[in-house]
Each structure stands twice: as structure tokens, then as C-alpha cells.
């Protein structure tokens, strides 16, 4: 009788759903506490970094910069969208830099770059925490089982991303190259001793020779944490050479699919660069203008590996990728020709 009653209540009333909602909400609350701990730790570490750097009010600066937002340009009218996006991103960069300079006074650009990235990581964790809390509270308020269920199924993935961000703080605090630094590491391996010349802000190039071919090696200016402006740099170098460039080779880290091996190298065509758009389009436009072929070499890695301290597999892949690039230069660029090799990515810990 009791069994029948229980089954009846479960099947013909919404008690079952309510129970499910209750269990899932309790589970999400426990996960939210983990997220909150990571967020709080990253904020405390950011404040500590700012204090060490001489901040007058670290709490206020961390709050200002972790709550900083960017409004994307109107995209239903695409005319000029890249210029508008580029302008907004540039304004963001200048404003963040100004806030830091106001608080810290004069600092080296490498130190400022590292602090900026640490604050960006904290901002990402802060946003993830607030987003999960928002949907959890909304789901509870409206008793929306579908919303809570979706959040519950997404939670393991969200926690993995949050954990990766949290662990990346170590690398940025100590100035250790991350997985995404693969491109700049390949550039370094190609031109370890050649002098660096600034071509545009925070972006440098070196000149080397590979078997009778002149190679411009472009990378962000290290060892601070920055990605530089490789698109603008490539455009400037090509215009300086009046289009007399035989090939552009871009080297970058790429996200692997589950099952693919970390450190495996793949080759393709197009600009291998994961920026929001302005840098990539510059490479595409200038290459099209002068009819220059664009090659892409990528080294595969997981999303977590890309933002954490570089592991041995990726470091070893950088040597192989550098050899791969040399091979392409020898086989596809005529003797006496000029080629641009761009190591794309964050150059933290790499000069």
C-alpha cells in the first residue's frame, strides 16, 4: 500500500520534480562554494601582487579592474565593424593601463603586463562565479528545473575552466611561459640570439637567414605577459618591403579535440591567430593585397594546458615546430626570397 502510494505521488504529482530540483540545487550550491573560494583566492592574490608593486589602494584597484566591462560594437550594421572593434579594444587597453599607472606610478611595461594579466584572470573567475550564481538564484526563484538541470550538467566543465584559470595565476605571478606561449617560443628558437627591433607597440622582429632566405621573425615583446600586435607588425613589415615577401608563416597553439595528443603538430593555410578579429584581418588583407600565401602551423593542446604553465610535451613540440618552419622555408621560398614567420601567443617568460 505504501509502495503504491509513493509511486502514485511520484508519478502523478510534481513531488518528484521538486525533489530533483532540491537535490540538484544543493549540489550546485556546493560547487558554487568551490567557485567562490577560487574567486576569492584570486582576488586576494591580485591585491597582494598590487601591494608588492606599491599600490596605494589595492582593494579598490582590483575591484575596478575585475568589474571592468567592454560593450561590443553594433553588429547588425557590419560596415567598418573591425575598425570600431579595434578602437574599442584599444580604448579598453589604454584605460586599464591608465588605472594601473594612476595607482602604481611608473613601472616597467613587463611588470605592468604581468599585473594586467593576473587581474584579467581574476576578472574571468569573478565573472564565472557571478554567472553561475545568477543562473542558480534565477532557477531557484522561478523553480525552473530545466535551467537548474542545464547548469548542473554544465558545472563540471565550468569547474574545469575555473580550475585552469586559477592554476594559471601561478605561472603569471612567477613569469613562467604558458601553453599559449608556444608561438613566441618557436620564434625564440628560430632567432635566439638575433637582436629584437620594435616594429609596433609591444611587438618586435628579428632578422635571420635560413639557407639563403631572409626571415623576419615576429613575436610579442617579452618577457612580460602580452600578445602584442602581430597583425599590425606583419602589415608594417610587408609595406616596408613594398610587398616583396614570398610567404607568411604563422605559428600558434590550437585547441585539440578530445583524444588528440598534446604537442601534435598540424599544418594548414590561413592566419593562425585567435584574436577577436582586428589582428587576424590585417594579416588576411595585406596578404590578399600583395597575393602572398599564408601558411599556418599549429601545435595542439587542451584548453587547460593553453593557460597553465607550459608542460614538457609542449616545450618539446616547440623544437619540432621550429624545424617544421625551417623545412617550409627551404622548400617553398626561393633562394634570396624573403619570408615572415610570426610566433603568435602570449610571450610571458620569453624574451
Amino acid at each position: 500500500m505504501l509502495l503504491f502510494l509513493t509511486l502514485f505521488l511520484m508519478m502523478f504529482t510534481n513531488i518528484g520534480q521538486k525533489l530533483q530540483l532540491m537535490f540538484m540545487t544543493a549540489n550546485l550550491r556546493s560547487k558554487l562554494i568551490i567557485l567562490e573560494r577560487m574567486r576569492n583566492d584570486s582576488l586576494a592574490r591580485s591585491e597582494k601582487v598590487l601591494s608588492i608593486a606599491g599600490s596605494k589602494n589595492p582593494k579598490r584597484t582590483v575591484r575596478r579592474l575585475t568589474e571592468f566591462f567592454v560593450i561590443e560594437p553594433v553588429n547588425i550594421e557590419p560596415t567598418d565593424i573591425i575598425r570600431r572593434l579595434s578602437h574599442i579594444l584599444e580604448t579598453r587597453r589604454h584605460n586599464i593601463r591608465r588605472i594601473l599607472l594612476e595607482d602604481l606610478g611608473e613601472k616597467s611595461k613587463h611588470e605592468l603586463n604581468n599585473i594586467e594579466v593576473i587581474l584579467e584572470v581574476s576578472a574571468a573567475l569573478n565573472y564565472l562565479y557571478k554567472l553561475v550564481r545568477h543562473y542558480l538564484l534565477l532557477g531557484e526563484k522561478t523553480s525552473n528545473l530545466v535551467l537548474i538541470m542545464q547548469l548542473s550538467y554544465l558545472m563540471p566543465h565550468i569547474l574545469r575552466i575555473a580550475e585552469a584559470y586559477h592554476k594559471s595565476l601561478d605561472a603569471f605571478e612567477k613569469g613562467i611561459p604558458i601553453g599559449d606561449s608556444l608561438g613566441p617560443l618557436v620564434a625564440f628558437k628560430l632567432a635566439p640570439t638575433a637582436p629584437r627591433h620594435e616594429v609596433v607597440e609591444e611587438t618586435v622582429y628579428s632578422i635571420i637567414e635560413v639557407d639563403g632566405r631572409l626571415v623576419y621573425v615576429v613575436k610579442a615583446e617579452g618577457p612580460g605577459a602580452t600578445v602584442g600586435k602581430p597583425g599590425e607588425a606583419i602589415e608594417k613589415l610587408i609595406e616596408k618591403e613594398k610587398g616583396n615577401i614570398s610567404r607568411i608563416i604563422t605559428v600558434d597553439a590550437a585547441l585539440k579535440m578530445e583524444g588528440e595528443e598534446t604537442g601534435s603538430i598540424a599544418e594548414g593555410v590561413g592566419a593562425a591567430i585567435g584574436d577577436p578579429g582586428p589582428e587576424k584581418i590585417r594579416i588576411e588583407r595585406i596578404a590578399t593585397k600583395y597575393n602572398i600565401p599564408v601558411d599556418a602551423i599549429v601545435v595542439k593542446m587542451g584548453a587547460e594546458e593553453a593557460i597553465q604553465a607550459m608542460n614538457k610535451k609542449i616545450a618539446e613540440a616547440a623544437d619540432k615546430a621550429a624545424e617544421y618552419v625551417k623545412e617550409i622555408i627551404k622548400t617553398r621560398v626561393p633562394k634570396g626570397g624573403k619570408v615572415i614567420v610570426a610566433g603568435i601567443g602570449n610571450t610571458v617568460g620569453i624574451i
Binding site: 612567477k174 613569469g175 613562467i176 611561459p177 617560443l185 625564440f188 628558437k189 635566439p192 640570439t193 617579452g222 618577457p223 597553465q308 604553465a309 607550459m310 608542460n311 614538457k312 609542449i314 616545450a315 616547440a318 617568460g349 620569453i350 624574451i351
Partner: protein
Amino acid sequence: MTPLQIIQIAVIVAIILLLALSIMLAEKKSSKKKEKKTITFVRCDKGDYESKRDFKPGDFVGKVEGKCPRCGDILRVYSIYVEEVEI
């Protein structure tokens, strides 16, 4: 005891033993703890000398470390990476 009961008891005992074995193996596996270590790889520009050491704050790829003990050329940091070491 009927033969069916004996088989049932044997199956239950076998399952218990398998469970105990798998728990023991899992414990043995987890006892091999791994630690992440950051390594700085140093190499001579000519390539005739290389060595590894623990990462020190202030290290970066491209940092000049001094002179090569073999040829006297420049000794440079060539890569910094994290390695898993069993403890």
C-alpha cells in the same frame, strides 16, 4: 545445501574478492604520488653544453646565464616547463 545455493555463495565470494582486489590496486596506484616541478633548461649558444635545474624567480627564456663551461660561449635559458616527477 543445494548445488544452486553453493553456486550463489561462490559467486558472492568471488565478487567480494574482486572488489577487495580492485580497491587494493587503486590504493597502490594512488600511493605513487606525482609532484609538478618547474624546470629551467639551459643551453650553450653553440649547442655543445646543456643542463637542467629547478626554476628560480626571475628566470625567463632567453636569459643569459653566464659562460659555457666547455667552449666559453654564451649560456642561455632555452626553455622553461613543468614536469611531473614521481615522489
